[in-house]
């Protein structure tokens, strides 16, 4: 074990941390929006919207993320209409392709988590809200959504950890995030174990922090479950 090399490589690996974090946060943020819209459409009662969103979820949960990334990064450029469109400057960049693929992927998984959470809200709660004179939108905003979000937190925590891990796939389309930088350092130094242990430790730390964050949020949102001192 070459400790000196590990110590010297640490700054370079940490230098890649902002990119990994950007990928994770951007796709979680956009993915939450996609998931929200998808879950609402799947529960809308509109046959067409339900079939379309169910198809989207089916395809993105049934295929590996690597296929999705390659399909967007390499596949879309095949069409002239895409290359001529206004979106091309973005779709040409691996950064935006990675974010798009990660967003659509987490959006599909999160929409199922959210749908389950919305369905888990007892009907009586909605009935009570309606009886108080709330409109359907108000009842959804004030009663259903807060309860659903509280309900989905543990499952969403797992999804966050999956996204931290999934961001490593961006290295396959030339992004130099933590995994990409580790591969680069290894090709220069041949120190496979040292560098991957270091990179693995950074990912473990990120996932540990994500798990703590979710635990803390859960604690904040459930004051009624705490034992009184």
């Amino acid at each position: 074990m070459d400790w000196e090399l590990m110590w010297d490589s640490l700054p370079r690996l940490l230098g890649a941390l902002p990119l990994t974090l950007t990928l994770v946060f951007a796709s979680l943020l956009f993915g939450a929006g996609v998931a929200f819209a998808t879950a609402l459409l799947r529960l809308s009662g509109n046959r067409v919207a339900e079939t379309l969103t169910a198809g989207y979820v089916f395809v993105f949960r049934g295929t590996p993320l690597l296929v999705q990334i390659f399909l967007i990064y390499y596949g879309l450029g095949q069409f002239e209409s895409v290359r001529d469109s206004v979106l091309w400057p973005m779709l040409r960049e691996p950064m935006w392709c990675a974010i798009l693929a990660l967003t659509l992927n987490t959006g599909a998984y999160t929409s199922e988590i959210l749908r389950g959470a919305i369905l888990s809200v007892p009907v009586g709660q909605v009935e009570a809200a309606r009886a108080c004179g709330m409109s359907r939108v108000l009842a959804f905003r004030r009663i259903v959504l807060p309860m659903a979000i509280r309900q989905m937190l543990p499952a969403y925590g797992n999804e966050m950890i999956l996204m931290v891990k999934a961001s490593s796939l961006a290295s396959t389309i030339t992004m130099l995030e933590i995994t990409g930088v580790s591969r680069k350092i290894i090709s220069q130094t041949y120190a496979v174990f040292e560098i991957f242990i270091l990179a693995g430790a950074i990912y473990l730390l990120l996932n540990f922090l994500a798990a703590r964050l979710i635990k803390h949020t859960e604690w904040r949102l459930t004051p009624y479950l705490r034992t009184r001192a």
């Binding site: 089916f58 296929v67 390659f70 390499y74 596949g75 891990k165 995994t179 991957f196 473990l204 996932n207």
Partner: protein, 234 residues
């Protein structure tokens, strides 16, 4: 365009089909290896030895907390070196190279095993203690209890969770394409490079994966129904 997917001399149909077979072979092997690792991990987690507990805990925490790609790279680039180092201790100085298939199976098997550990541990704990006590009262030995009472019931409880692990394993095998093993993803990558039709080939790959996940979902549902045929439903 369809000619490219055909089985003729200009088509990639044959290669795609053998890629599909390779993906199935890798998935089944890694899933089986994962169940072995998972059973060992669950036994270690449920044992009363603090050392075994610790080892299993470290295994599942690290493998589940680190990207799959990193585990695969680690074994792909470091596997031969590590084995040669071990062989060196025993006095063997030659060069040892491991093929991409074995590396892939061990890597994905390790990942699959970490998830299986938790599934199997939960399933073992779901078997009521009374069953074990009753078996012991009948005079069964520890092995007989394991074989006749614990394992059959654990299998039934573990089936839904293992179904999820299978889906994860199946999708993780796509990552082995970075080691140039000719499974679906690799074939699609090579084909799109030489025909300049990446969209066609990657969407074909997506369809093949969808086919595999759909068929296996149905298979696991059937297996679950069969495993639960003796259980009354409320």
């Amino acid at each position: 365009m369809l000619e490219l997917l055909s089985f003729g001399p200009n088509g990639w149909g044959g290669q795609l089909l053998s890629g599909l077979a390779m993906t199935i072979a890798v998935s089944v092997s890694s899933f089986t290896l994962g169940i072995l690792f998972g059973s060992a991990g669950a036994a270690a987690k449920l044992s009363h030895s603090l050392i075994l507990n610790g080892i299993a805990e470290v295994y599942t925490t690290i493998v589940r907390g680190v990207p799959e790609l990193l585990v695969i790279y680690l074994l792909f680039f470091g596997g031969s070196g590590a084995i040669m180092a071990v062989a060196g201790i025993f006095g063997y100085e030659g060069y040892i190279e491991i093929d991409a298939f074995s590396i892939g199976v061990v890597a994905v098997g390790l990942i699959s095993g970490a998830y299986s550990t938790e599934v199997i541990r939960g399933a073992v704990q779901a078997v009521p203690v009374g069953q074990i006590e009753a078996a012991r009262a009948c005079g069964m030995s520890r092995w007989l209890i394991l074989r006749r009472v614990l394992v059959p019931q654990t299998m039934r409880y573990a089936l839904p969770g293992l179904g999820n692990v299978w889906q994860l394993t199946l999708k993780d095998t796509a990552l082995i394409s970075v080691t140039a093993l000719a499974e679906i993803m690799r074939v699609a990558h090579v084909a799109s490079g030489s025909t300049r039709q990446p969209f066609l080939f990657y969407s074909t790959a997506a369809v093949l994966y969808l086919l595999l996940t759909t068929v296996s979902t149905a298979a696991f549902e059937r297996a679950e129904r069969r495993a639960n045929r003796g259980v009354r439903r409320a």
